[in-house]
Structures are given as C-alpha cells and as structure tokens.
C-alpha cells in the first residue's frame, strides 16, 4: 500500500516539482548594479562653425552640459557679415564629462540615413541649403551653405531629426527630435 503510493503519479509529480523548487529558488534574479547611471551619452552641445571663402572660421555654441534639468542652457549669439558665402558645419558633442568629451557627429554621420539636420529661420536670416547627402543620396545637413545678403537680425533654429521620413514632402516635420537649438543671429 505504502509502496504503491510512493510510486504513484502524483507522488512523482510533487517530488519532481520539489526538486525543481530547490534548483530554481537558488537561481533568483538579482540586482546587477551596473552602477554607472550616467555613462549613457547625450548630446549636450551644438556647435555651428561658419567659414568664409577666405577660410576664416567662427564658431557659436548652444551648451546644456548638465542635461535636461538643472541649469539653463548657455547660448552664444551668432554674428555674421553681410553679403558673404559661408559654409556652415554642424557638430554635436557630449560634454557632460569635461574630461571625456565625445563627438556625437561621428555617429550621426555613420547612421546618416537615420538622421537629418534641419534649419528654420526667423526675421532677416537666410535659409541655409544642405550640401551633403546620406548613403541613399538624400539630404543629411551636417555640411551646409548660408549666403548672407543685407544686414538684419533674426533667429536660426537647428534641429537633429531621428528616423525622419526623408521621402515626405516636409521631411523636417517627421521623425523625432534629438536636438532643437535656437540661436539669435545678427548680420552686420
């Protein structure tokens, strides 16, 4: 009777589960404590470099080195000369750790089909034209041209779009925005 019970189906099931219990409970998930929460790279700075045909470069930056919260971003006002053909290079940096500045532009250039730099202007600022293309021959926007005519003031907004629909009528209103930095511009 006892013998019979011992080898019964429920007995085998219960006992095998009991064995599994001991195995599984020793394999509980644990906090793996990566402990480097801010290692993730962010874009903290946008640098616009304007170069004249003569090779003179001037750079202006929009920096928010402490990330989204905390202190407000520091923005330099752009001053340009009238009636000049500038090339406009856009650079994105991670300066959250001053000792280890990362150039995110490299990654944007690598994933060029996934990204698009867009410009919008207000007031007397001329619209930049995109000069470079991605691997599919579509605009990218890291290298651009901006031709000033008369003097005036206004605003220039640079945005970096992720996964835009570059085939859309207005690709700059698609995708999600990684950067949107607005500069005051004076053309003298």
């Amino acid at each position: 009777m006892i013998q019979n019970k011992f080898f019964s189906l429920p007995m085998m099931f219960v006992l095998s589960l009991f064995a599994t219990t001991i195995l599984v409970s020793s394999a509980c998930n644990r906090d793996d404590d990566d402990n480097n929460p801010n290692e993730e790279e962010l874009i903290t700075s946008v640098i616009l470099t304007f170069t004249t045909p003569g090779g003179t470069s001037t750079s202006f930056s929009f920096k928010d080195t402490d990330g989204d919260g905390g202190a407000n971003p520091v923005v330099q006002d752009i001053t340009l000369a009238a009636a000049t053909n500038y090339t406009l290079a856009v650079k994105f940096l991670d300066e959250s750790n001053a000792a280890d500045v990362e150039d995110i532009t490299v990654e944007v250039a690598e994933e060029n089909a996934e990204h698009l730099v867009c410009f919008s202007v207000e007031g007397g600022v001329p619209q930049p034209t995109v000069d470079d293309t991605d691997d599919n021959g579509k605009p990218l926007g890291l290298q651009n041209r901006l031709t000033t005519t008369t003097s005036g003031t206004g605003k220039l907004t640079v945005s970096l779009k992720h996964q835009p629909n570059k085939g859309a009528a207005t690709p700059c209103s698609t995708g999600d925005t990684d950067v949107e930095a607005t500069f005051n511009v004076a053309i003298n």
Partner: protein, 774 residues
C-alpha cells in the same frame, strides 16, 4: 454512534455582492460535495450538513456525498454534524452553485473530534467590494489584468497604448492603490504612468476589488482601494488534475496558451503542488484605418507552488516569474514639443503601417519575480497565526526609438532606462475569536526595499523600510441585523535617498502616521446596507521628491519637491445591494474621498529650455482634493432567459486649493446590455450557454484642467458581444467563449489613453477561447 464535533470552514469561491438573507423557495443555487476523512480519504457516510438560516440541510449518502439545493447568493452559517453530536457553525459564502469537498480529520481523542484544515473565511468587507467571475473573468484574462478589471463599475484604466493598462479605482491608481498578488503586495515601479502591473492574470481564479481607502487591512497607502488577485487554493484531493486555456485574437493576431497541472498526495504526507505557465504573443494591432506600428508584445510567465497541509498547520512555497517585452507605438515616441504638436496636428500615425510580429524600439522589457513562503498554524481552538515572507525583484528596461549614442558594441542594446528594485516583506496576521460573536485580526507588516537606477537618472537610488501594526475586530450576533467592524493601524516609513545619477543627495526621510477604519453592515431581508469610513496615508515617492528631467513620452519637464508631505485620505462610502430572486440584483455605491496634501503636477507658466527645445514645465505640488462619485451594477431578470444588465460610474474631482479640476480623471461611463441564457432555468452547476450584447457609452471629459496639450477627446459609444458555453463529459469540463470587442469597428479615442494624441483605439477584435479542465 460516537459523538463527533465537526469543525468546518469553506473557501469562498467567486466572491461577492452582499449577504442576502432574503431566502425564498425561488433561489436556485446548489452546494454539492463530499465529506471525507482527511487522513484515510474515506467518505464519512451519513454525516449531516445544514444551513442554519434557512433550516435546509442534507444527509450525506453512503459515500459521503451531499447536495443542498435552492440557495440564494449570500453568506450562510453552515452546520455540519453527525447524529447526536454537538455542532459548530461556520460561514460559507455562496455566489454561484458550487461543488466543495470537505476534509474532516478524525483525531484520536476520546470524543473523536473532527476538524477541518481549511483557511478561515475573511468576513465580507464593509466597503464596496466586487469580483470578476465566470466568463467575464475568463475572457478578461486574455485581454490582461487591467482590461479585465475595467469590466467592474468604477474601475477604469490609465492606458499607454493598447497593451499597458494601469487599473484605476474610482479615479486613483499607481502608488495610491495596493495590488495583492497572491497575498503579497506588488512592489515594482508603480509610480510611472506607463508601468502596468506585472501579474499574469491566468494565475487567478478570482480577482476582486475593494473600493475606497482600505489602509488598515491592506497597507497604509491603499488610498484608492485594493485589487486582490488570488489563485485557486492548492489541490487537496489526491490525484492529478489541471487545465489548459487557449485564446486567439483577430486583431494583432495575438495568441496565448496557459496551462496548469497540479497534484496532491494523500495519506501521511499531504503535499500538494502546482506548475503553471502562460505564453502570449501578438503583433501590430489595427485601428479601423491603419495598423499601429510596433505595438506587438511577447509575454512568458510561469509559477509553481508547493503546499503541505496538516491538521494544525499548513505551509506553502510559491514562486512566479512574469516577463514581458512590449512594443511602444512608434508614432507616439516623440523627441520634443514640436514633434508632439506636429503629431497632434496630424491626428494619426504617419504611415498606415502593416502587420508584423516583429518588435523594435521603442519598447519595454519587464521582469518581475516573486518568491513567497507562507505558514499558518492553529494557535488554540479559536485562533490562527499566519506568517508570510516574500522576496520580489523587478527589473524594468525602457528603450527609446534611438539607440544610445556611443560606439561600444554593448551600447547598441542598452536601454535608456533601467530600474531594479528588490523588496523583502514579512507579514504576520493573527486571527482570533476572543469574545463571543466577534472575530478579529492583529498583525504586523515589515518591508525592506532597495531601488537602483542603472540607466537614466530619472529617479534616485533609494532604500526604504516600512513597519506597520494593525488590529481589526468584527462583531455580529445572529440574528441581529447589525454587523460592526473597526480597526486601527500605525505605520512608520523611512526613506534613504542616496544618489541620483552622479549627484549625491543623501537625504534621510521619516514618516509615520495612524490610520483607522469603522464600518457597519445592516442586513435586511432582501438587501444589505454598508457604510464605511476609512483613512489611509501615503508618503511621497522618490519620483515626486526628486524628478528633474524631461518625461519624453509626455513632452513635459517634471520637477520634484524634496519637501513634500505625506498625503492623507479620508474616505466615506455607502453601498447597498438589493436582490429579489428572479426579479433583480442591484448594487449601488456612493463615495466621498477627501485627500489632503494630494500630490499632483502643476503646470508652470515658464517653459523649460533644453537642447531638445523648450518643454512645458510641471512642478510637483500639493493640494486638497475631493473625489465624489457613485457607481452601480444591476441585473434585471426580464424573462426567465433574458437579463438586462446595467452598470455605470460617475466621478467628480476637485482641486480645492487651485479651484480647478484634476487631470486624467475618468469621464462618466455607462454600459447597458442584454444577456440571453439558453437551456433550462432549473438548477444547474456551471454557467449555461449565453449570448450577451453590451453597449458602452463614455462621455467627453468636460472637467479637465488647463495645461493639457490637446483637449479631451469626444465621447464615444462602443458595442461588444460575447457568447459562451460549458461542455461536460465525465470529469472533464470544457469552456468555450467567443467575444467581439468593438463590434462595429468604431473610431474613438479615450481620454485616459496617453496615446490618444497619436492614434485611434484598436478596431474590431474577435476573441475565441477555450479552457479544458481535467
């Protein structure tokens, strides 16, 4: 025959509505079962079982089998005895016809006392309590816990797309409600609006909700209420059994299979065990006009349980893992306010999408693990001590559409956010019957918790310790119509905030407070009236204290306030259940919840400038809020086979300090429908074949504060249909159900879906499900 005393108790089956003492001959429920001796498993021939209130009873046959017919739903005092014996009284709750075997143990004492080794029945709450049962629970399980609970009046969900549903009780959710998963309070990242409870609904044989502040019994922070997810008790009858459930949805081509197998040994080693698992996979869901891109999901859950039950004590081990990978609607993932405004202007996803099971960024990966040990022992004839110790581990990873910048290969698969929280809890509960006609519990609860934020410094790392003690007593003397309950509780909480990202905070916060509850139930012939006044309080959560950053999903900059005080709720509820057999069954609850120092996000006039552009700014503030409302559910039995079903919920919320409404409060909603039941009306166990058609009306939320980016969407009407039947052959039962949700493929958006800016709700969805019990 020798004198025998039977101690009997029965587990409540599908709960609830109230105790109705209006017994008439027209009631149709049955209590069937067998009385067995728990050691030998031999039937106890010719034992008698009777129900005190109605003088109904039965004598078990030679094989110990009995059947009592003609019961109304309600609470009964069951008396079990054998010829010439003293009898003992026990409460049994009958909600539908039930089959129950009673295991009685003959001890070797002279009088041959027989005792039952069952868990005592928790008395009915003096607060409104409702449960999901039958076909509603079964088809709800396939939808998920939140969506299933929505079928109860007064319960809504705060959604993030179609797959993330946070249950909301009378307007409150997240950290303001307590979810008990198999007796253990779920500890995860409840603070996030897009963090759904990590529970496999298929573990549950019963899901019920207690509405209103229930701090004393379930933990101080149960300001809005409690959700109880309870598995079937472990099998005691020797042998092996189980069940397999399968379900398939047309929309998203979601399929799921859930199976459980259980076994019990009899004799000297009364061990029971269960192994259970669920797998679910779905692809992109479809709104009437387009597919929602990247909305698939995959879920794999399993659990096991082992129990040992002796006459004086029982012990059990339980382990469960819930793991899910959830796609987030690609079009809802926006980078900044401009993107959000463009999306709102567009009013629909960029492209029509296509069906795929493939799941990409943005997504969430969530793992929740629970390990629990439970022990309960009879401490004398009229008391019982229960000990429950549990460890929970939760890992939540959130992946943005954009993989993190950086060139190391491991960064390609890194999440933007990773939170890990480990929680240890210890609960002691001592049930007792010290005085005649009273029963009560004294208990203590302890919690230790550690949270680390491994990626994305949205909330700080912290550890927390809670301790609480409570005492509740309940009085009722039959046949007095009054039943009275009162309880007190005291809790202390310590919160040590260490670091947030690279910033060291090092704040040590301590909170302590008392809570109380007092309630009465008045039993009438056909109705029950309940009144309860309860308090609860909640310490501010670290996200409310230390948030400092942009919440990208919502395009909002949120700033915490380290000086927040705990919030306190005082809740009054008055509810009534009125049942007239074959005529109607109705429950109405009225409530008024005053919450002082209610923590909420206040819109700021100056936006926050970041490198992604300017974001609307919100600061955590405190106010005094009131939530007043009522909800009802009613069944009117128009014809023997035709039932009119009605339920609804109305809620008014006021931010008293700001003189404004509060955001994300459910709009008034009403559901009406008919249920047609086939087959004889005579007594029958199980659910008869039925057909149900229901219409849900949700009004526009006109009481919303300024500061939302788009006004609340218009109200909508949605139709759902459902049919089900049960087949039986031998000992096997097969339940089959077919449901159509959003029958007419209506276009609509719900105010409480955070993705209402981006997409219509899911279109028509058909569900075919089957469950085999063997």
């Amino acid at each position: 025959m020798q004198l025998r005393e039977f101690m009997l108790a029965a587990l409540m089956l599908l709960q609830t509505f109230a105790a109705s003492k209006g017994f008439t001959q027209t009631c149709t429920l049955q209590l069937n079962g067998q009385i067995l001796e728990s050691h030998s498993r031999q039937p106890l021939s010719f034992a008698t079982i009777s129900i005190k209130e109605i003088n109904k009873g039965a004598i078990a046959d030679e094989k110990g089998r009995f059947s009592i017919e003609g019961l109304c739903p309600g609470n009964y005092t069951v008396v079990c005895s054998m010829v010439g014996c003293e009898h003992a009284e026990h409460e049994v709750r009958v909600e539908q016809s039930l089959i129950r075997d009673f295991y009685l143990e003959a001890t070797a004492v002279e009088l041959g006392r027989v005792e039952v080794v069952e868990k005592a029945i928790a008395p009915a709450s003096t607060q409104p309590q409702q449960a999901l049962q039958g076909a509603s629970l079964e088809s709800g399980k396939a939808l998920g816990l939140g969506e299933a609970l929505k079928r109860l009046p007064g319960i809504t969900t705060l959604n993030t797309g179609h797959s993330i549903s946070k249950p909301t009780i009378q307007g409150l959710n997240g950290n303001r409600i307590v979810i008990l998963n198999n007796g253990v309070r779920l500890e995860a990242q409840q603070w996030g609006d897009e963090h759904a409870p990590e529970i496999d609904p298929f573990i549950a044989s019963k899901v019920s909700v207690i509405k209103g502040a229930a701090g004393v019994r379930y933990g101080a922070d149960a300001i809005g209420g409690v959700i109880l997810v309870e598995p079937e008790p472990l099998r005691e009858k020797p042998g092996i059994g189980g069940q397999v459930a399968v379900a398939a949805f047309s929309n998203g081509r979601t399929g799921l299979v859930s199976a459980a197998i259980e076994g019990a040994l009899g004799g000297k080693l009364p061990l029971s065990a269960r192994l259970q698992g669920t797998f679910k996979r779905g692809g992109n869901v479809q709104s009437p006009d387009y597919f929602q891109r990247n909305t698939g999901l995959e879920e794999l859950n399993y659990s096991w349980a082992l129990g040992l039950k002796k006459e004086k004590f029982s012990t059990a081990l339980y382990f469960s893992i819930f793991s899910t990978e959830l796609g987030i609607l690609r079009d809802a993932h926006i980078g900044n306010l401009t993107d959000l405004e463009l999306a709102i202007e567009r009013g629909r996803p960029l492209s029509d999408g296509a069906f795929t099971y493939e799941l990409g960024r943005p997504k969430q990966n969530v793992l929740h693990e629970l390990f629990k040990w439970q022990f309960s022992v009879e401490t004398g004839e009229k008391s019982k001590l229960q000990i429950e110790a549990a460890r929970q581990f939760n890992r939540r990873q959130e992946f943005d559409a954009h993989r993190p910048f950086g060139n190391l290969p491991d960064e390609l698969t890194r999440p933007q956010f990773e939170f890990e929280i480990t929680t240890y809890t210890l609960d002691l509960n001592w049930e007792h019957r010290w005085l005649p006609n009273t029963r009560g519990s004294i208990g203590a609860q302890g919690l230790h918790q550690r949270n680390t934020t491994d990626f994305g410094a949205l909330i700080p790392d912290y550890s927390a310790q809670n301790g609480g003690v409570y005492w509740i007593e309940r009085w009722r003397k039959y046949p007095s119509p009054w039943e009275i309950e009162a309880g007190v509780r005291y809790d202390a909480k310590r919160l040590s905030i260490s670091t947030q990202g690279t910033d060291t905070i090092g704040q040590d916060l301590q909170f302590s407070n008392a809570s109380g509850t007092a309630g009465v139930i008045y039993h009438l012939a056909e109705a029950t009236l309940r009144f309860n006044a309860g308090t609860a309080w909640r310490a501010p959560h670290p996200n409310e204290l230390y948030s400092d950053g942009v919440h990208h999903g919502a395009a909002a900059y949120e700033l915490g306030d380290p000086n927040l005080r705990p919030e306190r709720a005082l809740n009054f509820s008055l509810s009534t259940n009125w049942t007239r057999p074959k005529k109607f069954d109705a429950t109405l609850s009225l409530y008024h919840n005053r919450i002082s120092d209610f923590i909420y996000l206040e819109p700021q006039s100056v936006p926050k400038l970041t490198i992604r552009g300017a974001f609307p700014a919100f600061h955590y503030r405190q106010t005094d809020a009131t939530l007043t409302g009522f909800d009802w559910t009613a069944q009117v039995f128009l014809l023997p086979q035709l039932t009119l079903e009605s339920q609804g919920a109305v809620l008014r919320v006021w931010n008293r300090n700001a003189g404004d409404y509060l955001i994300f409060m459910p709009a008034d909603r009403f559901t009406h429908g008919f249920k047609y039941t086939f087959g004889p009306t005579a007594d029958e166990a199980g659910e008869r074949p039925f057909l149900r058609l229901a219409m849900t009306n949700v009004l526009r939320q006109t009481r919303a504060p300024q500061g939302d980016l788009a006004p609340p969407p218009p109200g909508y009407t949605r139709f759902d249909a459902e049919a089900g039947m049960t087949l039986q052959w031998g000992k096997k039962t097969m339940e089959i159900g077919f449901s159509v949700f959003n029958l007419f493929n209506a276009h609509y958006r719900d105010y409480l879906n955070r993705f209402r800016y981006f997409t219509d709700e899911v279109g028509r969805n058909m569900l075919l499900r089957a469950k085999l019990i063997f």
